[in-house]
């Protein structure tokens, strides 16, 4: 084992709650950080459809991370829980038809609350896009769905923290933007 890894092990203490998990190579946070590290939408073939990182991850490293993460989730069976321990943090995943939504979270974050946050997000998307599909096609002609999903996500999660969960408030800026673009 490399010497720096041994150092990490000897730093672990038993009197601390399960929350603290020093990330090798980074500056140890002074206080327990609870946050969302990233959110991915990946299909069953492992192709990323949307990725949002709330922590610095080098561009070159992202695809490998995403492939690894999705592999971990695809290996899970239906009767197993929706949480996976991954490296020194956790993954919360939820499957919707052909799409996986995977959220990377710190150890001390509440897994079940994030599990439901994902569903809230999906419900917001449903609320917005089912409304859109009812509108005139010419209106949605140059609509870039991916942008809209990003914009919606930006209203919900900021800097890895949950900032808005009220569906009407999440959609208000986007609906105002749509209205302005129409005219």
């Amino acid at each position: 084992m490399a010497p720096e890894r041994l150092l990490w092990i000897s730093c672990q203490r038993t009197d601390l709650p399960a929350a603290i998990s020093p990330i090798p190579g980074s500056v140890a946070p002074l206080f327990l950080i609870t946050m969302i590290k990233f959110l991915l939408m990946v299909n069953k073939q492992g192709q990323t459809r949307l990725s949002k990182y709330y922590e610095q991850v080098e561009l070159g490293k992202r695809t490998a991370l995403e492939a690894d993460v999705v592999r971990g989730c695809l290996a899970r069976r239906k009767e197993e829980c929706s949480f996976v321990e991954y490296k020194d943090y956790k993954l919360v995943y939820r499957q919707y038809a052909a799409l996986f939504i995977v959220v990377g979270i710190t150890e001390n974050e509440n897994e079940l609350s994030i599990f439901e946050l994902v569903h809230n997000f999906v419900e917001v998307l449903d609320k917005y896009f089912s409304r859109v599909s009812e509108l005139d096609v010419s209106l949605s002609k140059n609509t870039h769905y991916t942008n809209k999903v990003h914009i919606i996500l930006d209203e919900m999660i900021l800097n890895g923290h949950i900032v808005e969960t009220n569906k009407n408030r999440i959609l208000a800026p986007l609906l105002a933007l749509d209205k302005m673009t129409e005219s």
Binding site: S113, S133, N147, H150, N159
Partner: protein, 436 residues
């Protein structure tokens, strides 16, 4: 509920996969995604993307490219970067798009900037003027966008340039502006705490804001401040307790509900704050017993999100100064989780036990049969969490058995991180109990 899920299931794949229905809309991005999806090798993908990127390079340098076209190019650039290919030649154009584009172009420009750039990137300096202009715009949508991007990515050294404008927004008549201003200031606090020292009074105003959304956004700042120094904020305990009481009591407008549960993530945030304030402080803890009891009772509904709230409640009860009746209720709650046939709840129960055993070893003893069953569970995550729990209840009597179980697990384990983590634990135990 099943109606929503059905609609969503049919809608979602159509958003991203062009093979399914919604492809009435044809644009370059869809074509690109379609082509990528049809490829079979990484090599082919590389070639396709490289071609796409060189086409884009030409387009961005052409003087004839309109802002609308630039927006379209930006979307493709974001897609290429998402796949891991560098499109840095578009970064400057993203900023220009935010600067010169109409409202939708501006939003896409800001979005691209937030995805492409991160703290310390030199191009961010060029963003400052655009943000300053938009912050002062009479168009609320533009002001909102500017506040959002400021909270996402902004050069630390330029905070003084934009701070007065953001501060000013704290007293804006529209709640969304006030809310976003608070979040921007939270970001400033995280990256440059001394820049916002003087406005703590304004955070208090935000906490007491008549709009629940603004109040909620101030909680992010308070959670951080209280983590750093709980003593300075004990006087706010009463306020947090009152807010939680009102939320649990259903006083918020109905659109703050999620599946009939009032603002669950807000409840969780408040419970975390209260835990920090009540820790090792009897008089402060006494202020919160009633609302914790109420939360424990209200969360009896059968939904994942209420279980998530219960989990935080239980943690809070065990963190603050102990109260027998609450501890009893919390223990029962953990018991229900651990014994639940729902696997996600079982996991949460084990996690709660791990947290709680430091305070109450007897609880683990009560559930030892279930814990032993979980050790042999087919789900790796459950097994791993059980080992974590066992590690915490190790004593001179059971250490041999526990280490054996850990070694067993290690033999079947492939993941590097888990191996290192567990070997470390075994090593610690060996040190602690040398004669076994």
């Amino acid at each position: 509920m099943s109606d929503v899920v059905e609609k969503t299931l049919t809608a979602l794949p159509g958003l991203f996969d062009s093979q399914t229905g919604a492809a009435k809309i044809t644009n370059r991005l869809r074509q690109l995604i379609k082509s990528i999806t049809e490829l079979t090798s990484k090599h082919e993908e590389e070639n396709l993307i490289k071609k796409e990127l060189s086409a884009m390079k030409e387009q961005v340098s052409s003087p004839n490219t309109t802002m609308k076209q630039m927006r379209e190019i930006m979307v493709r650039a974001m897609y290429c970067e998402m796949l891991g290919y560098d499109a840095s030649f578009t970064y400057i154009h993203a900023i220009k798009l935010a600067q010169q584009g109409a409202v939708l172009e501006k939003r896409v420009g800001y979005l691209a900037v937030s995805l492409f750039l991160n703290e310390g990137h030199e191009l961010l300096l060029l963003l400052v003027n655009t943000v300053l202009k938009d912050l002062q715009s009479t168009n609320l949508i533009e002001a909102c966008m500017a506040l959002t991007v400021v909270a996402q990515v902004f050069p630390k050294d330029m905070i003084p340039a934009v701070l007065p404008l953001v501060e000013d927004k704290l007293s804006h008549p529209k709640e969304i502006i006030r809310r976003k201003a608070v979040l921007a200031l939270y970001k400033f606090y995280l990256i440059a705490p001394n820049q916002v020292q003087h406005i703590h009074a304004k955070f208090r105003k935000a906490l007491c804001d008549k709009d629940p959304g603004v109040m909620t956004s101030s909680l992010h700042i308070y959670l951080q401040l209280i983590r750093e120094s709980p003593d300075g904020y004990k006087d706010l305990t009463g306020s947090f307790v009152t807010i939680l009481k009102q939320v649990v009591g259903g006083k918020l407008p109905v659109d703050f509900n999620y599946h009939n549960v009032p603002a669950p993530w807000l409840q969780i945030q408040l419970l975390r704050i209260l835990s920090l304030l009540g820790k090792e402080d009897q008089s402060t803890s006494e202020l919160m017993y009633e609302v914790l009891d109420e939360s424990l009772r209200r969360a009896e509904m059968n939904h994942n999100i209420t279980y998530a709230i219960l989990y935080e409640c239980v943690k809070a009860v065990y963190t603050i100064h102990p109260k027998a009746e609450l501890l009893e209720k919390a223990a029962r709650c953990i018991g229900n989780f651990v014994l639940s046939p729902k696997i996600n709840l079982k996991y949460l129960g084990l996690k709660a036990l791990t947290y709680v055993v430091q305070h109450d070893a007897k609880l683990a003893l009560q559930h030892q049969m279930t814990i032993i069953e979980c050790l042999d569970h087919s789900d790796f995550t459950i097994k791993r969490e059980t080992l974590e729990l066992l590690f915490r209840i190790t004593n001179a009597q059971n250490v041999t058995v526990i280490v054996e179980k850990m070694l067993d697990f290690l033999r079947g384990c492939n993941d590097d991180h888990t191996i290192i983590h567990l070997v470390g634990k075994v090593a610690e135990l060996a040190e602690k109990y040398p004669f076994n």
